[in-house]
Amino acid sequence: MEKRKAKFGLLALAVALTAPGAQRLLADQNDRAHQIGAKLKCMCGGCDQSAAKCYHVGGTYSGPCDTAKGMLKEIDAHIAQDKNDEQTLQAMIAEYGPLAYVEPPKSGFGLVAWLMPILYLLGGTGLVIVIMKRWRKRPAAVSGASMAAAGAGHASVNVTPELLARARELARRETED
């Protein structure tokens, strides 16, 4: 009796663990399909969106359009064959060609796309540094501060109301936001 109870308990535990486990597995599979789909371009021809997120206007379904849904189902089928993410991705690329990548490949002409932002940033930073160096070398213009310093340092300088007003205006302009 005790043995039967124990067997029944084990069976119940196994069912309890397996049912959510199976659900979890299915959900994971769905997530994986979406993650792989996010790396592939939807082949609907109307946009450059990914198969996981194609929201091409006029699609029959909301969310991924019909073409994208078909691609996600294909990915699901590959996953069901126990292929890992990379194998699934390569299987899809083999079917649709290298242009099915949603982002440029990091080789050949596609590499240019990746290098461009880095070059912009480096080139821009270099330019800013050159500009700053040139500005640092430039002789100082007569400013409010320098005029005030001149006034403070040399008691003999005649600070006329016009000069003071000009200095104030310059100081106001350069210090106020």
């Binding site: 997120k53 929201y55 242009l99 109301p161």
Partner: protein
């Protein structure tokens, strides 16, 4: 009415032609009457464009189905509200609407400055007339919205015909945001014409000083504000209508709207360098030129079909006209620059690398790099096709990888920049200003890590958001404390007083705070969850902490569509929270369908539910549900940005100098000889 509208449009073209040609003659001859007549012709152009636009609106309201544009974009059952939106739902109408918004700006400028800036305004008038002339040429001779329907009769002549009803408006446009999103975005695009006209005019006329900057600041901010609102409303429309669960997909048309916004933002910052220090004059002029050209490029991308876009409803073959116009604008800008570049020499030097000036330089650098990276990414498929014969896709993952680090760098500078002093910042000042924001930022990071922010960029974003928000709060606190000591008012009143005294500075801080809120919203994207499931009636789908119970399905008959609706009860921890009604609308007029997403939105997350359709094989409805954390922060942040811009546009509350009594009151001291201690500055409206 179609003849009336068409005639007004032709007359507007003639007037613009005179404003342009007569204006050039006026600049050469300096004849006052010629100057006046060119200006008045420019104003008449605007009036005639108003008349023409209102005629087209009337054609929609009166269901005049003899006009091809009305037939294509409206039908009798379309509500009055959406008949207004039909005006800009197609190529021809949207171009006329563009002219209409531009005319509002042009009329405002010509009228406001009719008796001012006599040296500059003739140039401004000519440039504005030139831009108007281009759009009027398109609307009159290439894509007229007043074309009528006709059939050839036996004699070979055409007889006019009228249809009983129209084809209806594209379903995805039948949404309230579509009535306000395009006008906002177009107001942004067209608004940048004004600073462009003033910058080019100042360069051509060698107009002295920074006055053109002061004149255009307000116009630039208005255009920038509209552009920001337009982008955010477009994002909200995509979120609530397209049903894919997101709001920004890096579509070429979305990118096109972002490009002038980025350069416009850079200009709003770098312009301060010219105002305060007389620096970056060349840079500012070119930023304005580039911003305007990007507006035209954006229009070209939207309408030409050069790049694949989900905004397919606005594509046509008028792209070559825009390319031509863009080339002319670039040619004129280059010629004006090389002829007068000596006029743009900087006046000042850079005193220190740790200064406000440096932070503005780097801010501009990041904004410009982001702009060029987005532009080259958008056009890369075209380039790759030219060079290799294959069209290489550049989708959202590429733009995210490139722009997220740049965005974070910009967020960092948003916090740092305002705390650095002009000219030079001392080490003590740096420590004083950054100590608490730095500590709070790191604490925020630790808290975020503990509460599950494990994704690197989201965590960095959280740290920076807390840091920037702290710097802003610190600035308000310090300023309000001084006001409070003087006036004894409450903290809130002191903050308001402080803001009204220097609207530009504190309005700017409010804008920055809005941007922080937007970044908080963006950081939530890393934690999105979704589920898609066929759902029999009475069963549930689980997403996040929510259970979605499909209670029933029903059908709702409206005037212009039939909606199939899911009736979904939302349960959280087994407790009912609310009912949601996601629906699919079928429009019989044009045999199309669209979604209406149901969203339960809180500051923490959005529960976003889509009725994704009925599976024809199983006959079961499919539900697509998302948990999108922190999305609301994006929309609220947008509102704060708009509010801050409005504050920054307000004039400063005037400071009043009140002289205190001198110790020896016999002779009132002269201001020029007065000791500073004798002057009490009481700022306010008293």
């Amino acid at each position: 009415m179609d003849v009336f509208g068409s005639f007004a449009l032709i007359l507007a073209f003639v007037c613009a032609l005179y404003a342009f040609g007569g204006g050039i003659a006026a600049i050469i001859t300096r004849h006052p009457l010629l100057i006046k007549s060119a200006r008045q012709s420019g104003m008449a152009t605007c009036g005639l464009i108003f008349v023409s636009t209102l005629s087209l609106v009337y054609l929609f309201f009166s269901d005049n189905y003899s006009v091809a544009y009305v037939v294509s974009h409206s039908n009798r059952d379309l509500s009055t509200f959406f008949k207004v939106a039909a005006l800009w739902s197609g190529q021809e109408g949207s171009l006329l609407f563009w002219s209409f918004l531009l005319a509002i700006y042009v009329f405002s400028v010509l009228f406001t400055y009719r008796n001012k800036n006599g040296e500059l305004m003739p140039y401004v008038g000519v440039i504005l007339a030139g831009v108007q002339l281009f759009f009027l040429t398109i609307s009159n001779f290439v894509a007229s919205p007043f074309k009528v329907l006709g059939v050839a009769n036996a004699g070979g002549a055409f007889d006019l015909v009228a249809r009983a009803d129209g084809n209806g408006l594209n379903p995805v446009l039948q949404y309230p945001e579509m009535v306000i999103h395009p006008p906002n975005l177009y107001s942004g695009y067209t608004g940048f014409t004004i600073p462009f006209a003033f910058a080019l005019a100042a360069l051509l006329a060698r107009y002295p000083g920074e006055k053109w900057i002061h004149l255009t600041r307000k116009w630039t901010m208005i255009a920038w504000c509209f552009q920001s609102m337009g982008i955010l409303l477009g994002a909200h429309w995509a979120y609530a209508v397209l049903g894919w669960g997101g709001y920004w997909g890096w579509d070429p048309v979305e990118n096109a709207s972002l490009l002038p916004w980025l350069t416009g933002t850079a200009f709003l910052h770098s312009v301060m360098m010219q105002e305060k220090r007389g620096m970056m004059k060349v840079w500012n002029v070119w930023l304005v030129f580039v911003t305007f050209m990007l507006c035209i490029l954006g229009t070209l991308l939207t309408r030409s079909g050069v790049v694949s876009s989900v905004h397919a409803f606005a594509q046509s073959s008028i792209g070559s006209w825009f390319v031509g116009f863009l080339c002319i604008v670039l040619g004129v800008c280059l010629a004006a620059y090389f002829k007068n570049k000596d006029y743009l020499k900087s006046e000042n030097q850079l005193d220190s690398l740790v200064s406000r000036e440096s932070s503005f330089l780097f801010n501009n650098l990041v904004l410009l790099v982001a702009c060029v990276a987005v532009l080259s990414g958008t056009l890369f498929p075209v380039f790759s096709e030219w060079f290799t014969g294959q069209r290489i896709s550049v989708g959202a993952p590429f733009f995210n990888k490139v722009n997220i680090p740049l965005g974070l760098l910009l967020l960092f500078l948003t916090g740092v920049g305002p705390l650095l002093a002009w000219r030079k910042t001392s080490t003590e000042s740096l420590l004083r200003n950054f100590k608490w924001p730095g500590i709070l930022g790191l604490l925020g990071g630790v808290m975020g890590f503990v509460f599950g922010f494990r994704e690197m960029f989201s965590l960095i974003c959280l740290i920076l958001c807390v840091f920037v928000a702290s710097t802003i709060v610190q600035e308000f606190y310090r300023g309000a404390r001084v006001v409070r000591i003087r006036s004894g008012a409450s903290w809130l009143a002191s903050c308001v007083d402080l803001t009204l005294r220097n609207t530009r500075r504190y309005g700017g801080y409010i804008v920055h705070f809005g941007m922080v809120m937007i970044f908080i919203g963006l950081s939530g994207q890393a934690f999105n969850k979704e589920v898609e499931k066929e759902l029999p009636i009475g069963s549930t789908a689980r997403v996040g902490n929510y259970d979605l119970l499909l209670q029933s399905m029903d059908q709702k008959q409206e005037k212009n569509y039939v909606a199939d609706r899911m009736i979904v009860e939302v349960l959280k921890h087994d407790k009912p929270v609310m009912m949601l009604y996601p629906e699919r609308r079928n429009f019989p007029t044009n045999q199309e369908s669209g979604t209406m997403v149901a969203i339960y939105s809180t500051l923490r997350e959005d529960l976003y539910v889509v009725y994704a359709g009925m599976n024809p094989q199983t006959g079961l409805p499919t539900i697509h549900a998302f948990i999108n954390p922190l999305v609301k922060w994006v929309w609220w942040g947008g509102m704060v940005v708009v509010m801050g811009t409005i504050v920054a546009l307000l004039p400063n509350r005037a400071a009043v100098v009140v002289l205190s009594k001198a110790e020896s009151p016999a002779h009132a001291p002269e201001v020029g000889r007065m000791h500073p201690a004798q002057v009490t500055l009481r700022e306010g409206n008293d």
